[in-house]
Symmetry: C2
Subunit: 224 residues, 2 copies
């Protein structure tokens, strides 16, 4: 059987957040978790402790939290449900990609049942990624991560296709969408100002100056 363990929505949220932070920084610090989950630090300590007892994570004080095999399995399932929820919201309900994250955070816990998630995946056409370009883990927990590099690191004159956008803030996503900076779009570096100044990119014929912070959430696959 090896079906996935059922845990509370809270623990699912924690596992998901740890997964994200682990991916981004290698491990999840309690402070980052507190910010991500919007709870007090002491709460993190408490919950982390109980999660370690249940063998979902390991915690080395001051070094951060990491998922165990058992924890990762659940986390991947939550991420899978989250990203399929986002696809449902954009592809079926035609909701803007800037609004999907928060809604998906609630939906993901309501579609854990196999009888729901499988038909959902099928109806959506087995999408490989969420609307922001992040891969959707398979039922068995496989993640196919497309190789890509930061737009901010792309050399002058180089061009590539946007693969994913790693920022969920609605205002940021709205901004990117108005410029056409969405997965699939072709971008070219026209200029890179020194001292970490803005980057001028060309998208669909138009040129825009992007701050480095913006260029650091966009991942592209370089055209060779």
């Amino acid at each position: 059987m090896s079906s996935i363990e059922v845990v509370s929505p809270t623990i699912e949220e924690y596992l998901e957040a740890i997964y994200r932070l682990e991916k981004k920084k290698g491990s999840a610090k309690t402070g980052d978790l507190a910010k991500e989950l919007n709870v007090a630090l002491g709460t993190i300590t408490n919950t982390i402790e109980s999660m370690e007892k249940q063998n979902f994570i390991t915690h080395k004080p001051y070094k951060g939290v990491n998922l165990t095999k058992k924890g990762r399995k659940i986390a991947l399932d939550v991420v899978r449900r989250h990203r399929l929820s986002e696809r449902l919201l954009t592809d079926v309900l035609h909701i803007d990609w800037s609004k999907t994250h928060d809604a998906a955070c609630k939906l993901e816990h309501a579609i854990a049942d196999k009888d729901i998630i499988k038909p959902l995946e099928k109806v959506l056409g087995k999408p490989k990624t969420c609307p922001h370009g992040n891969p959707i883990p398979s039922e068995s927990g496989k993640v196919i991560e497309e190789k890509s590099e930061l737009l901010a690191n792309l050399g002058l004159g180089k061009e590539g296709i946007i693969v994913k956008v790693t920022d969920e803030r609605p205002d940021m996503l709205q901004y990117l969408a108005t410029l056409g900076l969405v997965p699939g779009a072709n971008v070219q570096i026209e200029e890179k100002a020194p001292f970490n100044g803005p980057i001028i990119v060309k998208v669909m014929g138009a040129s825009y100056a992007l701050g480095r912070n913006v260029a650091s959430v966009i991942w592209v696959k370089k055209n060779e």
Copy 2:
């Protein structure tokens, strides 16, 4: 503004259950609630007490619980979300109507946001009823209940169109579907055995003997 008050999923469940029982029996007894919500009797007493303090319900011991105006408003919103969820599950995800109830009980709490429920309603084509035929309350809380009578009470030889089925048990719904006893179907009473015996009905050319308990969850609109 007059937007709908936000309460916990638990309270939403209670309000929804009270709404159903009120509709069926005029009021909700604590015992019925305990069965409906699968919790201990004492738990009902506790929660009921706090809900009465918050003015969601009134409770006359041994007489039952009833919704206040405030409570009914929330209850109708929950029912609306529940039934739209069921439509999503059947119409979009093509899930069998026998499985939608339990799944919708979870989904209903995840789609409370106006930004989600409005697009959902629109995509579904503003359906008037859930897959079982129960009316979907409007955004403002209006319920348009189609006049109907129990199949069990229909006279010999009379015929009508099934309007709704008021039973959520998966096995019952599966059984009804195999006989074609679904909303919209035309049925005719061919025979009524005495002493509350079975009723023979004709559906789509075929005849079936139904127990009274089955004929008492099917509501029809008589053809005049």
